[in-house]
Symmetry: C4
Subunit: 286 residues, 4 copies
């Protein structure tokens, strides 16, 4: 009997895994799709505005599809900060991150399929990483020519810091509060502003899964492993930077804002934080 129940729970877990992959897949196809459309049309059917809005709304839709079931996690950096601040249990972390990487990989593959003819005709059948016919930056981020590694790292830390601080605020029911059911839309607006403001240095990945997993895909799909060495081995910046930034951002929010909430009863807090997990777990992004 016990065993059967265990099996049921196992099956449920595996299928929840699929949900979490789905969210990342939706985000990758619709988000990076807007980059593809802008690049492959050489700016004729897309540009910075459709890319920023596209990425933002891709996140919005991904949350609406999976938010009610798996909580809308699409960013390992956010999941990491949540575990660290006791808003998510650590044992869930590897499953979430695993699903995020698998989903991003599957999304990159789907997008590659949809735009296969376009990618092939763009540079005469070649898949390039640099130059005006480059297409690798459809899938992963690359630094601007002027950018040093130090500045690149600071950029990812600060951007993710702002992201976390504001995501924590959006889901903090004791703060101003976004009307229930509209949080995804406000998160979309947040992504629009961050990518309009802090996107110039290196495209504002702010998410290890969103960047590393599709980069691996491009390495395998024909762009070659130079996708990792490009930009002075830039690849690890959008992986490590967001983890550091997420922790700092969460910390600032807790220390500067949460501390002021009137009925701050430590015991009560600890209990509640578990219950409110779903709400907080919804904290997502890009």
């Amino acid at each position: 009997m016990m065993k059967i129940q265990h099996n049921v729970r196992d099956r449920r877990k595996r299928s929840l895994m699929k949900v979490r992959e789905l969210i990342k897949l939706i985000k990758m196809v619709l988000g990076c799709g807007s980059v593809a459309q802008a690049i492959l049309s050489r700016g004729l059917f897309g540009g910075i505005i459709t890319i920023n809005v596209g990425f933002a709304m891709a996140v919005v839709m991904a949350i609406y599809v999976t938010g009610g079931v798996s909580g809308g996690h699409i960013n390992p950096a956010v999941s990491f900060a949540m575990c660290l601040f006791g808003r998510m249990k650590w044992y869930k972390f590897p499953f979430y991150v695993g699903a995020q990487f698998l989903g991003a990989f599957a999304g990159a593959a789907t997008l590659f399929g949809i735009y296969y003819d376009g990618l092939m005709s763009f540079a005469g059948g070649k898949l390039l990483i640099v130059g005006e016919n480059a297409t690798a930056h459809i899938f992963a981020t690359y630094p601007a020519p002027y950018l040093s590694l130090t500045n690149a790292f600071a950029d990812q830390v600060v951007a993710t810091m702002f992201l976390l601080m504001i995501v924590f605020a959006i889901f903090d029911s004791r703060n101003l509060g976004v009307p229930r059911g509209l949080e995804p839309v406000v998160i979309g607006l947040l992504i629009i502003v961050i990518s309009s403001s802090l996107g110039l240095n290196s495209g504002c990945a702010m998410n290890p899964a969103r960047d590393l997993s599709p980069r691996l895909f491009t390495a395998l799909a024909g762009w070659g492993f130079e996708v990792f060495t490009a930009g002075n081995n830039f690849w690890w910046i959008p992986v490590v930077g967001p983890l550091v930034g997420a922790v700092i951002g969460g910390l600032i929010y807790v220390l500067v804002i949460e501390i002021h909430h009137p009925d701050l009863d430590p015991d009560f807090e600890t209990e509640q934080s578990e219950d409110k997990t779903d709400k907080y777990e919804l904290s997502v992004i890009m």
Copy 2:
């Protein structure tokens, strides 16, 4: 007595038919109107952004006008998927599809009238299908030069799949949930992202009525029947592709998301699904 009542119901049905035509007409005029404005002004008073926003908001407004009366159906592919998943009764299907085709045709005619002078002056009185003075793609979609038929078909299947999956989520009251009365706006945001991401290959019709009916209009109005042979007989792709994609998208949503809803009581479900029809029937689109 019976007969009178029958007549009343008949009249009501015929007039509901008019409502369903109206929704498609509004969508065609305002949606394709934004394409017309961009093309006829040669990009001066419109472009990819006004087109994407215009089409999206055309759908939003069409739903607000007719949503309370006829449920906002404007896509035969969506209606088809809903019948298949038991969310709409099959006998309604031909009426809905008929109204959608008639409405789209009337909308194309209205738009042709409003921009008659502009269309005539654009290419010296000629109505062209290809070249830089082409105007046929104001009304129906045509493939990008690089696109093979296989890729074109996959494109329509995948795009409509995403559309359905997310529309099902938006109207799934047991998921995260969009606040009541704002669903049309979120659907508008959905159309903005899909057309910004997956619109490059062939304009993202995702709707047999939106594409085939205005194409027929252009054939009759002076562009000639080459509108059907253009692009390697492309015309059937946005008709068949969306039907296939809608079924796959609905299936994925049911199998991956709905299965996780806690109080899943099959009997209760069957009963409910009929009552909730209006809600679901609102699922619309492009």
Copy 3:
């Protein structure tokens, strides 16, 4: 005693008049201001998108400021249709229209003042109506070169028809319904789509006060009375066209949509329509 009360009411009426002028003034300054910014910067700090969004949001803000007090009327064509369909009393009509014309005139003057230096330096101190240094179309609408008077008239009729139909739907509480307090924002989205779709022919005035009153201002302020003869005496089209279109649009909504509302009790209706006046009177626009 009676007389004092009368005086009080008179004063209240005069001050309500000021509110109605204020709404039109806000709309003119912020709406036409976005046109001024685009033209005076020769496209560098504005274009079709900022103009469409600017005009739409100008209306949104005007409604938020005055909606709670005077009902947000800014369009004589809408007021006219409302009187005709018994949703507003005829005796109010001249006061509303008068305020709308005065407000639009004051708004045009304010805008002229804010951009005085810019207007003067734009064409070497000249205020021109035609040519690439023209600035008259900041204030009033002018037809595209290709447009015949017949098409121009049809354009204004059809555009205002769509406007009315959808505004009636947005404020029809028995239809799908926009959440209370968000109607102005949805009206803003409506104006964005109409001006993106039907704005090419002649700028989509759809409002006699918005067009005639600033045109008169430009005639007096230095552009000369050729503003009335330009475009084959175009000036009367955005005055008469919207009145005709508003009536047709309202009629279509009543005949095709309202007729289906379930509890249609004529007596009840007549009573209610008076009470619901505020709600309906909020119907505004451009």
Copy 4:
């Protein structure tokens, strides 16, 4: 005992100070960041639309983060008007303004850090105030070449007047009313329209802290004290103009709109106005 409590309150005040600095910091980094991205990419990854939307959404996010704790004050001109109209106590004024100046300075420094490499490479290591390689206008506003000081002053007065009038309306619960929790988004739309309409003359600062504090930062960071003499000593216009405009705008709202609210009981008013402070104090902006 008294002393301990005093210390606690002191600590709380100091930490609230930090919150108020944070709001200004977020706004500066994300808002001016969108200007930086547009300028440093020479228009390739940004322009008037991303700047207007970026600034607006920066304000939206700043309010969501701090609104629940400190009321979202980011504009000394608004704080000044609120004190004058009895909606905020005067003793708070210096603390608020101090925090706003400190936050804006810290924000300018953060942005300078994030885009350090970009700024350095943009003009060959030079930090310029005028010319096509100028970068000073990322941080503070400068007048258009055609603008006289008189017109510049009128511009700031009128723009801030509109800002105040509409902000007062958005937070006036007896007016039409924005749904609770969505006020920041509507304020964002307001900033989009004002900067699209009245931004050409001198960038529409409308805020002494937003302009003076980053200007001082640029003077110290390497642009030199010519940032104060540039544009015929323009620097004081966006400091004094907004203060005057805010008072006029608030006055117009009170005299033209509030006077019409039905249950205007002066005594009741005075009591209430204190309680409603939080609501009103939320009135923010740019």
